[in-house]
């Protein structure tokens, strides 16, 4: 009844925009929901920045040494992040060496060759791989991959904790990411390009590798970069399988391939250090507590950089075909 009255009232001035407090309240609430995401980002930057600043203000730390030092020894108050970065980078590179050929070939097969039936077998497999928690991959690395590598190459060559095992398993973990993103890129290539090539007598291989892949290249590059970012931020496999000792080194003195880049020895990664430090007795306002935030901030900017790079690739790809 009252509704009707309102209708009549407003009908006298039909073009006037009516104030609707309920509508505005809901709208405001929804906006706040959206804005919370900004608060999260600000929170991350603020908290990480604040603690990292405390870390850098400490007299035992200098920023220059932090970013250029090749020894990480918190007990001796030597803080050079490069050994941890080395661990992260080594693992990520091995992961990409595993994941890019598998993921890319899988994507090409699924998008260019596979029949619907073949697809309906392989796609769920990749989806299940995505769904497995990383800690289970860590268990897998430690109980399967490491013993396997040690029995193949000898336990004198391969340490119990080693970079290779962690890298390979992280690689398996990111295969679905590479393959699904690349497949999206491949199937976005217009069919007219394929048909033109077939019309000129090209074989399926030639169409795939010389027409479709180059056409989708920036999309594929985006996939690889996102996968790299994922590998850099991956934590549990790295913590469990690649050891808890940073690979401190001295350039020029230590053998480059025998030690610094050796994939069969332990090297703690950035994420691994954060987890190990946080799972011990961690008291606030100590240099250890602050140091994990400095590393976290570095990690945040590394992944942010990679993700933005990837988005730039995607944008270029979209411009070409949409």
């Amino acid at each position: 009844m009252s509704d009707e009255q309102v209708e009549v009232e407003s009908a006298s001035d039909p073009l006037q925009k009516r104030a609707r407090p309920g509508e505005m309240a809901i709208r405001g609430f929804l906006f706040i929901c959206g804005a919370i995401s900004i608060a999260v980002t600000v929170g991350i930057l603020w908290e990480l920045g604040k603690e990292a600043l405390l870390f850098f203000q400490d007299e035992r730390v200098s920023i220059a040494d932090f970013f250029s030092g090749t020894v990480w020894q918190p007990q001796a108050e030597v803080f050079g992040i490069l050994p941890l970065v080395l661990g992260t980078v080594l693992i990520s590179i091995i992961a990409l060496v595993v994941a890019v050929p598998i993921g890319l070939a899988a994507a090409i097969y699924l998008s260019e060759y596979a029949t619907q039936r073949v697809k309906s077998f392989f796609k769920p497999v990749l989806e299940v791989l995505v769904g497995i928690p990383t800690v289970v991959y860590g268990f897998f690395a430690l109980t399967f991959m490491t013993p396997l590598l040690r029995s193949w190459l000898g336990s004198s060559t391969v340490g119990f904790f080693n970079v290779a095992s962690a890298g390979i398993v992280v690689g398996i973990l990111i295969v679905p990411l590479v393959s699904s993103l690349s497949e999206d890129a491949l199937s976005a290539v217009p069919d007219s390009l394929r048909q033109a090539a077939y019309g000129l007598g090209a074989s399926k291989l030639e169409v795939s590798l010389r027409i479709v892949v180059p056409a989708a290249l920036s999309g594929i590059a985006a996939a690889v970069v996102v996968a790299m970012s994922r590998a850099v931020g991956e934590t549990m496999v790295v913590t469990l399988a690649s050891g808890a000792a940073p690979r401190n080194f001295t350039l020029g003195e230590d053998a480059l391939f025998g030690y610094i880049l050796n994939p069969f020895e332990a090297a703690q990664a950035m994420t691994g250090y954060i987890v190990v430090t946080a799972s011990g007795d961690l008291s606030y306002n100590t240099i250890d507590y602050n140091s994990i935030f400095a590393i976290g901030l570095t990690l945040f900017f590394m992944t942010l950089g990679l993700n933005s790079l990837s988005r730039r690739f995607v944008k270029r790809f979209r411009q070409a075909y949409e």
């Binding site: 900004i38 598998i102 931020g233 954060i274 990690l299």
Partner: protein, 464 residues
């Protein structure tokens, strides 16, 4: 132009018939090889998955070498029963309690009795006067109020405390099936080099053991792997999911509605969108650090519950961890809900608006019901991801060794992935076994959730 090209000599530009055929063979061969290669790569992915599952199952079942403090057969014979026809489970309640009475030290017995008494009408370990006294205290132990133990509970106690099996070594499933003798030889060799301490080889019995069993699912954690279970961890994970969902779903769906239905293209809204995409790529461990700094530390009075006069001393509680996972899940929920909302045809919106409904009325009664299955699917997948997250939980202080069930938002907790992590990092072989068994539990849980999401998706995508 065209005339000129036709005049160009074609000699040598095209291969002759023979050369053409051989080139064609090479090209076909290459194409075939490449197809084989990419199929091989796909197969590797399948093999990796199969190997992973194989490893977990292989470690969850198998032969064990067990030393019992008391042999069940001796115990039965000691009570005047025939071990050939009876098992421990056939003993009467009184006999089981009597076994405990003769074996346990009075201190342990009193503790057990205070937890839960054995008989309604009489006390076994405690004297009546002391019992009256402790029950009159302001904070009486649970044994004063709850009824007596059941026979299953007492049987379990007898198994743990009287028979007290100690698994000294374990073997994987496949070698246990194919080559059980090798395990015996290995254990014998272990005795020769003194690996098993004070035990003698004669004491060892070889038994099949499923590490993944109903008792494992229902027992609390324990420092010895043969008694440890994951009930505490399962309950912890359930509590975490509750808070994750309570935070991430309303806020996530709200943000998605705002961005899809209300936001006009503006700098601020573009920024929100870019920001959400960025957040989705932030490693989970960073969210853990955010949770540690803000929820655990800065908001400690709230998250520890001390502001409300309940709970413990610090902020490493379920509510902190649940909200951390909520923050982590938020971008995923927003993005998948956005997809679901964008998939709703505009005609529905136009019809609603055309009838004079406001935007919110249109969204509530036209758009949301259509988008709901999609939103639900995305949410379930996001929650499944949150259940498996480990790193952020370690950061917000999932406590090391917890045997008490979580009681509410402000209690300390452990979670399934945390248990797996801790057991995996211990050197003893038997902890690997229970880590594998806990992984089975986690995977079954996640697969159930995922298939639920897939079913939901398939059912509704067919309708659309």
């Amino acid at each position: 132009m065209s005339l000129q090209t036709t005049e160009r000599p074609t000699e040598g530009l095209f291969p002759g018939e023979q050369e053409f055929q051989s080139q064609l063979r090479v090209r076909r061969w290459r194409a075939f090889l490449f197809q084989g290669f990419s199929l091989l790569m796909l197969t590797i992915a399948v093999v990796a998955l199969a190997t992973l599952l194989y490893t977990i199952i292989n470690d969850s079942f198998g032969l064990t070498a067990v030393v019992n403090q008391q042999d069940p057969e001796d115990v039965l014979a000691g009570l005047g029963h025939d071990p050939a026809t009876m098992t421990m489970a056939d003993l009467s309640y009184e006999e089981l309690v009597a076994l405990l009475e003769t074996t346990l030290s009075s201190g342990v017995g009193r503790r057990l009795e205070r937890e839960q008494r054995f008989f309604e009408d009489r006390l076994v370990f405690e004297s009546d006067e002391v019992w009256m006294e402790i029950c009159a205290e302001s904070d009486p132990p649970p044994g004063c109020t709850i009824g007596p133990r059941g026979s299953a509970s007492v049987l379990q106690l007898v198994n743990e405390r009287v028979i007290a099996p100690d698994v000294i070594d374990s073997y994987d499933l496949v070698p246990s099936l194919t080559n059980p003798e090798a395990f015996e030889a290995e254990v014998r060799q272990g005795f020769e080099i003194g690996r098993y301490g004070d035990y003698e080889f004669d004491q060892v019995s070889f038994e099949w053991r499923a590490w993944f069993n109903p008792t494992f699912l229902t027992s609390p954690s324990n420092s010895s792997p043969e008694l440890a279970g994951i009930r505490t961890a399962i309950l912890g994970s359930a509590w975490l999911v509750l808070f994750t969902v309570l935070f991430a779903v309303p806020v996530g769906v709200g943000a998605a509605i705002y961005l899809v239905e209300f936001a006009k293209p503006s700098r601020l809204n573009d920024f929100i969108q870019t920001n959400i995409n960025n957040l989705a790529g932030v490693p989970s461990i960073i969210y853990g650090m955010l949770g540690l700094a803000v929820l655990v530390r800065a908001l400690e009075p709230i998250t520890s519950g001390s502001l409300f006069g309940v709970g413990g001393s610090d902020g490493r509680t379920i509510i902190s961890a649940g909200l951390t996972l909520g923050l982590l899940t938020l971008p995923v929920v927003i993005i998948s809900s956005q997809e679901a909302l964008k998939a709703v045809p505009d005609s529905l919106r136009h019809a609603g608006l055309g009838l004079g409904a406001t935007r919110w009325q249109t969204v509530r009664s036209q758009v949301l019901p259509v988008a709901l299955p999609g939103i639900l699917t995305g949410t379930i997948l996001a929650v499944a991801r949150a259940i498996g997250e480990t790193a952020p939980l370690i950061l917000v202080g999932a406590a090391g060794f917890i045997t008490a069930d979580p009681t509410g938002p402000f209690s300390a907790f452990t979670a399934l992935p945390i248990q797996i992590f801790q057991w995996t990092s211990l050197p003893q072989e038997e902890f690997r076994n229970i880590a594998a068994a806990a992984s089975i539990a986690l995977l079954v849980l996640l697969l159930t959730l995922n298939s639920f999401a897939v079913i939901l998706r398939n059912r509704y995508s067919r309708k659309a």
